[in-house]
């Protein structure tokens, strides 16, 4: 992998260089340079905080347009369960599934269905002897990338199962081929409807050696209004949905705590919001958490319903999902009790090679010299972390200076002090 292709893009015209994103980036990956934001791609974990917070809408996630991929003869929609929380008054998932067919898809494979398999196999995996506990969920791609960049020691704690989206993609393709043996592989298109940009990056880059099985990623908010229109007038396409294939568990994955509660034990921890997740990972690394079996971490507040490509506030969406889930069976997908193994195609042990985030230099002696310089320089700076220099903190600015990527004049407080000193010197003459 030469370079990681991120999904966050900047509209330079709209960016005013206001520093909002700089100060909120959890990995300090953004600087203002030449009047607009610049993302350090090595550090970016695709959490989408910058897109969420940008007051000028200058940041976007790159997704594909459904209309550009109509050449696939058989198009399968894979809605993330978060989609079902976006509609006011919705009490039946089938309405949305029908609308997906009506806007042009040929089949729908719910990611929630695959999630129920992942839940069943996770319960099985947790009983395996000799595995590292707590097991950490593999579902949120931001967390997976964060662990590979910053918590490599925890890589054996990651659940070795593919995320539901990938399992859904494999199964969706398999089903399409079964139902339509006349189709060639390249005539089948599997479309993931995503609530978040990190999934886009995961699909583009894979994870370690693993390559995604999703063909096209469409943003949830990009097809939302089309769906809304189709829902008012169902059946326009002449196609008919065969109905939802997921239960409470699958749809519950849309919000934080859903994956955990599906384990049907109370030995778990779930956390959401990127800063909270980092704190939990730090605590796991220090051994400073209670004895638990499973940890579910979601970078977005509220879980996937908090993704930046959703329409509704995450808490409102979660409440709506309660209505949707109310009359559903607990699960519609089971693993036969005789089956004692997890299918090999669902398992991955792929892990990106450890790339120490922000290593100062390849030589340790040089790194130490640089850090000593940074510490010294930091003491000469005001320490108010105002961001006016384009770096998130005075510490980061000192680091940029030592790395030679930022000139000292960028600190307006230091400049002002210098002016003052000059004036005083002039006065006393």
């Amino acid at each position: 992998m030469d370079s990681y292709r991120h999904s966050v893009v900047l509209d330079v015209e709209k960016c005013t260089g206001c520093t909002t994103c700089v100060r909120h980036c959890p990995t300090e990956a953004i600087r203002i340079n030449g009047g607009h934001a610049e993302i350090n791609t090595d550090r970016c974990i695709d959490c989408g905080e910058c897109i969420r917070l940008c007051p000028h809408n200058a940041k976007k996630a790159m997704c594909s347009k459904f209309e550009h991929y109509l050449h696939y003869k058989w198009k399968v929609a894979m809605p993330a369960p978060a989609l079902f929380g976006q509609f006011d008054g919705l009490d039946d998932v089938d309405v949305v599934l029908q609308a997906l067919l009506d806007i042009g898809f040929d089949d729908v494979f719910e990611v929630a269905k695959a999630a129920e398999f992942v839940s069943a196999y996770t319960r099985m995996y947790l009983k395996t002897e000799g595995i590292k506990k707590p097991v950490i969920s593999s579902a949120c791609p931001v967390i997976s990338r964060l662990i590979s960049l910053r918590f490599p020691y925890l890589k054996d704690n990651i659940l070795p199962l593919l995320p539901p989206m990938e399992i859904a993609a494999m199964e969706a393709r398999r089903r399409a081929k079964e139902q339509h043996p006349e189709l060639n592989d390249n005539e089948i298109g599997v479309f993931f409807i995503t609530p978040c940009p990190a999934k886009v990056s995961y699909i583009r880059n894979g994870y370690g050696d693993y390559q995604s099985h999703v063909d096209v990623v469409v943003a949830l908010n990009d097809i939302y209004f089309q769906l809304l229109g189709a829902m008012k007038n169902p059946g326009q396409s002449g196609k008919k949905t065969t109905g939802s294939e997921s239960g409470m568990i699958g749809i519950g994955w849309a919000s934080s705590g859903g994956e955990s509660s599906a384990l049907l034990n109370d030995n778990y921890l779930y956390a959401d919001g990127i800063e909270n997740c980092i704190q939990v990972l730090d605590s796991i690394e220090n051994g400073n958490i209670p004895q638990i079996e499973f940890v579910e971490l979601n970078a977005c507040i509220g879980g996937c319903v908090g993704g930046i490509m959703t329409i509704e506030n995450p808490f409102i969406a979660k409440t709506r999902l309660q209505t949707v889930r109310r009359y559903l069976p607990v699960s519609k997908n089971f693993v036969s009790p005789d089956q004692s193994y997890i299918p090999e195609s669902f398992i991955t042990d792929s892990f990106p090679s450890y790339m120490p985030l922000a290593k100062l230099s390849d030589s340790m002696a040089e790194s130490m010299r640089m850090m000593a310089q940074i510490q010294k320089l930091r003491e000469t700076l005001p320490g108010i972390d105002c961001g006016a220099c384009g770096a998130p903190t005075c510490r980061a600015f000192a680091e940029d200076q030592v790395k030679g990527v930022a000139p000292p004049e960028r600190c307006c407080v230091v400049l002002q002090q210098r002016e003052q000193q000059k004036e005083n010197a002039d006065d006393s003459q």
């Binding site: 910053r150 490599p152 020691y153 730090d282 605590s283 690394e285 220090n286 051994g287 400073n288 209670p290 450890y354 120490p356 985030l357 922000a358 290593k359 100062l360 230099s361 390849d362 340790m364 002696a365 790194s367 130490m368 010299r369 850090m371 000593a372 510490q375």
Partner: protein, 140 residues
């Protein structure tokens, strides 16, 4: 190159919320310097346990971390009550923490044993009524 790099932290007593901040910062710094993950983890656990001890028993103190290319030395010093019987304190499960502290999930009697387990060398100097200085060393 024999120069070392020193990080100094004041550990605030009676503040469980901020306890552990120094070890998180040290972890960040060691990562930037390019130490292997396993070394960083050991330093971070030893330091975290030490920090918590200073908060629980000594009303805070100071943590100094000296980083060399081949080793990392952590010195934790406080002006707390001191440890009357070091051998006893080193036993797993032995704790003098109050019930209040235990209800927070601390005080399991594993602090000092863990610090020893995760470091290559550990020296405790303690005077009752004066304070304690713990020096730990991890070789890279």
């Amino acid at each position: 190159m024999t120069d070392s790099l020193t990080f100094h932290f004041d550990v605030d007593g009676e503040n469980f919320v901020s306890a552990g901040q120094a070890s998180v910062q040290v972890k960040k710094n060691l990562r930037e310097l390019g130490f292997p993950p396993e070394i960083i983890r050991r330093v971070s656990i030893a330091m975290y346990e030490g920090e918590i001890n200073m908060v629980i028993h000594a009303g805070g103190g100071a943590a100094d971390v000296d980083v060399f290319e081949d080793r990392i030395v952590i010195v934790l010093s406080d002006h707390g009550p001191g440890i009357p019987d070091i051998d006893l304190a080193m036993q797993e499960g032995y704790s003098t923490a109050t019930d209040n502290v235990r209800s927070l999930g601390f005080g399991a009697g594993m602090g000092l044993p863990n610090m020893k387990r995760y470091t290559d060398e550990m020296r405790i100097e303690s005077k009752v009524g004066k304070g304690t200085v713990i020096t730990m060393c991890i070789f890279v």
